[in-house]
């Protein structure tokens, strides 16, 4: 059995769910005949036909709005945003239709919005977004961010089976990275929403992170171990909503120091909420200030040296971790 990429895992998840449940269908720009801008949906049109793999016009409100309507009928649409940045074009359908529907009228909206997010590909300000904070802040939306190939498949299946609107944020940098190749189980499996996972155990500090930053944290942790004799524990959140408070708190209770790392900009990013929760609920356990490593409060730049300076990386994480450890 061959190892597959993070992108293959996503393709497989969609294919298997479409085989398993007739209610599941895919819609988005270039997803059908072209197989998707990143080829996530290659072969799906041939297998499932144009009623279940729909090439839409450039109309994010219609894409997301149609997904809401279909979901209200009992279908399970998977709406692709070609780049997750374009989700802003369908913002209102998410905020005012999808997310409020069940709370408001008691009718579930089982739909997934998915697409490539994140930077590091010289995509510039409009192809590198990390939009999670806007939707993390939206009651009624679930937000999921897989970092591994295994999780990409399992979490997407769980998201498709979930009866709520779920935002599934893939990271484009991880799509075809050779280091992420993995052999996946043949049998059907899901990864539950709302469960974080400890990627690396340690006693000296907790790194809370998600997405591509998990790998920067792992690199940083290796340096800290070898050069500073510090053992960092890395908690990969996987689900932002629902948030796995239990795993987070268990970790912080025994390390007593927290470093939050995310690619999204600092002010009002997920890290701000995590910091508030920890300050409110685990104050006595903290032996140092809750520290964040995030992108600066500026739009995402294009030129390579700008992008490199902008994104958090292992080096910046090591610097912040050393400062925190010394407190």
């Amino acid at each position: 059995m061959t190892a597959m990429t993070y992108l293959d895992a996503i393709s497989q998840a969609i294919r298997e769910e479409m085989r398993r449940d007739e209610a599941v269908f895919l819609l988005g720009e270039d997803v059908g005949s072209y197989g998707g801008a990143f080829k996530v949906s290659a072969g799906l049109l041939e297998e499932f036909g144009p009623e279940r793999v729909i090439d839409t016009p450039m109309s994010e409100s219609a894409i997301i709005g149609s997904a809401v309507g279909a979901a209200l009928m009992g279908m399970r649409p998977v709406a692709e945003m070609q780049y997750i940045d374009f989700i802003t074009c369908g913002f209102d359908q998410i905020i005012n239709m999808a997310s409020k529907m069940y709370w408001r009228v008691g009718m579930p909206v089982p739909m997934v919005i998915r697409g490539p997010s994140g930077g590091g590909t010289r995509g510039g300000p409009f192809h590198s977004s990390s939009p999670e904070a806007w939707f993390f802040h939206t009651p009624g939306m679930k937000v999921v961010v897989p970092s591994t190939t295994y999780d990409a498949k399992g979490l997407l299946k769980a998201a498709i089976r979930d009866n709520n609107p779920v935002l599934f944020l893939e990271h484009k940098l991880l799509y075809r990275q050779p280091e992420l190749r993995a052999e996946l189980p043949e049998e059907d499996y899901t990864v539950p929403l709302g469960k974080a996972i400890v990627r690396r155990e340690g006693e000296d500090m907790t790194m809370l992170t998600y997405g591509a930053m998990v790998y920067q944290c792992l690199k940083a942790a290796t340096v800290l171990e070898e050069e500073d004799d510090l053992e960092a524990e890395i908690v990969d959140l996987r689900s932002l909503t629902p948030l796995d408070r239990e795993t987070i708190m268990e970790s912080v209770k025994h390390t007593n120091k927290v470093l939050i790392v995310h690619e999204d900009t600092q002010t009002g990013g997920i890290g701000a909420e995590l910091a508030a929760i920890l300050a409110e609920e685990l104050f006595e356990y903290l032996d140092g200030p809750i520290t964040r490593v995030a992108a600066p409060d500026a739009p995402f730049p294009y030129a390579p040296p700008l992008e490199t300076a902008y994104l958090p990386n292992a080096e910046k994480i090591v610097t912040a971790a050393r400062k925190l450890a010394a407190y």
Binding site: P57, S59, S61, G65, G69, A70, M75, Y102, P110
Partner: protein, 364 residues
């Protein structure tokens, strides 16, 4: 048309008007929190359009479409519980006005942002088409909403996908205080259809039989599988945008002209002239309507206020099976979308007792 059907039309137009009149009275008595939006003058458009629909069809109404709700079996009790923000309203007091719906009975619940229901209607139609049902979706919007991007995305998507939607534009002359001449350069909103390669027709929105004929024609076209169609009902908003709006920006002569073309008055003159509506039948209809409206208000006034302790509950739907709406057994309680899981009870949008005028009334 059968006598009994003409009386049915008259009855629903009167019921719509009376229920809204009562809502206005409650508002003036300070019993309704927030804004009250009614649709005096729209009754021919809303009742006429909905009358054309069949079992299995769906509506995606807006705030001036109470007439559509009622024709499709919507509950006056539910409407009054909504206005009075009762804890047992279809939204548990969480949303107001007629933001209610029941997918099992083909009513898509609206939101305040207008034009947004149209892409959702496309999704419903997409499902109907995939399921090979003969049903159609009647999706309405006002002149104002035809200027939103989502109106255009929806019409375009429906036309390229050949979705079974009748887009009904209720052109009532004003979007809040903005007259149509400030909103668009077109004279006839039916012309917007050309941009989407779909048939479009304008009709006198105050003539209920004309509305039925035009919407009926559009519905037949859509049912034939050729794609969506557009109907523009030209009517007028004789009252303010909301009950708090005096609307003195509307020239008095214009309002007076349209009050003279009141759709109920016109239809009543017709059915009286044709001896279809006799004085006795009219009295009987009025008595029925009074009973329905009083029952709705009494029920709502005796219903409990919502419990503040639960305001943050039920943000997420539970795990479980979801049924395909409209399939046999779709309302089996083992499906989580068969019941309102927030209460564990069936949805309350629809009237439990039939609202329709009994046939024998027409035979008197």
């Amino acid at each position: 048309m059968e006598r009994v059907d003409l009386l049915q039309i008259y009855y629903f137009m009167r019921l719509t008007r009376e229920l809204e009149d009562r809502t206005r009275k409650l508002f003036l008595q300070g019993k309704v929190a927030g804004g009250v939006y009614t649709a005096q003058g729209h009754e021919a458009t809303t009742v006429g359009a909905a009358m054309v629909l069949r079992d299995g069809d769906c509506i995606a109404p807006q705030h001036r479409d109470l007439g559509m709700h009622l024709v499709r079996g919507g509950s006056p009790r539910a409407v009054m519980c909504q206005w009075l923000a009762r804890g047992n309203s279809p939204t548990l007091g969480r949303d107001g006005q007629i933001h209610i719906g029941d997918m099992h009975h083909g009513i898509v619940p609206m939101i305040s942002l207008l034009g947004e229901s149209l892409p959702v209607a496309c999704g419903v139609a997409l499902s109907i088409k995939r399921l090979k049902r003969p049903a159609i979706v009647l999706a309405s919007c006002g002149d104002g909403a035809t200027n939103t991007g989502q109106f255009h995305e929806a019409l375009n998507f429906a036309s390229v996908q050949k979705l079974p939607v009748v887009f009904l534009i209720e052109n009532n002359g004003y979007a809040y205080s903005t007259p149509t001449y400030k909103q668009f350069a077109l004279q006839d909103l039916a012309d917007r259809a050309k941009a989407y390669a779909m048939p479009g027709e304008s009709v006198d929105g105050n003539d209920v039989l004309a509305v039925m004929a035009t919407v009926g024609k559009a519905a037949a076209y859509v049912r034939s599988g050729q794609g969506p169609a557009l109907v523009e009902c030209k009517t007028f908003r004789v009252r303010g945008h909301s009950e708090a709006d005096k609307a003195d920006y509307v020239p008095e002569e214009l309002r007076a002209e349209w009050l003279g073309k009141d759709p109920i008055k016109q239809f009543e003159e017709y059915v009286s002239r044709e001896k279809i509506l006799t004085a006795a039948i009219k009295t009987e209809i009025e008595a029925r309507i009074k009973q329905v409206v009083n029952d709705a208000v009494n029920f709502a006034e005796q219903s409990p206020a919502p419990d503040p302790a639960t305001v943050a509950d039920y943000v997420f739907a539970p795990d479980g099976l979801i049924s395909m709406v409209g399939t046999p057994g779709a309302q089996d309680p083992r499906y989580i979308n068969a019941l309102d899981q927030r209460t564990g009870q069936p949805f309350t949008t629809m009237s439990k007792t039939p609202l329709t005028l009994p046939e024998e009334v027409g035979r008197r």
